[in-house]
Symmetry: C2
């Protein structure tokens, strides 16, 4: 394992990856133990509810969740079976489908949020100083935008 990454950088990377796994797992379990919806479902509902008109095309949903299109299809299938989401034909483009929230979906969203929020606060934010939170938001936001760029691989 030649030193292609400086040690400090590697530490940061590892902390980043492992912390993500550990924290997400804890929140997931917490939601489940309280009979609430899984985190991915929550993500779907939030994405829809915060989209203009509370309606979101499947494609856009897939992108926003870092999923494939088929993944989004399967996922919305479940949510629809559970009665949290409804599919409609896109008004301007007959090819497209848009996902919308049902009343139940809105309720499920509101129920899950406090538990999710408690996880974010208790496991993540409460361990960080205001300065760290600021730095992390700004720095990782920058990394995120860069990672969405086309591809600068040689």
């Amino acid at each position: 394992v030649t030193k292609l990454v400086e040690p400090r950088g590697l530490d940061a990377w590892r902390a980043f990856v492992q912390t993500h796994a550990a924290v997400i797992l804890r929140i997931e379990r917490d939601l489940e133990s309280r009979g609430l919806i899984p985190l991915v479902w929550y993500d779907v509902l939030v994405a829809i509810s915060s989209a203009p008109g509370r309606r979101l095309r499947m494609r856009a949903l897939a992108d926003s969740l870092v999923l494939t299109r088929s993944g989004a299809t399967r996922l919305v299938d479940k949510l629809e079976q559970a009665g949290l989401v409804r599919r409609e034909i896109a008004p301007e483009d007959g090819r497209g489908a848009v996902a919308t929230l049902t009343e139940q979906g809105l309720v499920a969203l509101r129920r899950a949020w406090p538990v999710y929020a408690r996880g974010i606060n208790g496991l993540f934010l409460s361990r960080l100083s205001a300065r760290e939170i600021e730095t992390i938001g700004r720095a990782l936001g920058r990394v995120h935008r860069a990672a969405l760029e086309p591809s600068d691989s040689s």
Copy 2:
């Protein structure tokens, strides 16, 4: 969506989650497009190779990868089929199995590392200042340790 998390904190959390997904995805694709082993396999090989004596119990492997025990079993099955890893009976405890690296496993590890390292540098570290790297490593390391604690959920 009542304000149970302060806006700055929510920004930081979202940046954290989305950046993770985006960056991991890019690295994964990069490895695949070059015919190298997937990231999880890499993680397994690293975990083993950096364990004392280059041998690691299944249980410890599962923990270090944030996987279930059965997940670890399946994973090592594949690696073993591919000839990168070998299972042996634990010397002191007949119940346990330890995973060890094969010669091929070591080669696969060394081949993947430059590409992985390039991803870490190019997508992550190169977008961050030295101060940010330091802060992220320290802060997220603290979050990680906290997330491994038993469970302080009410």
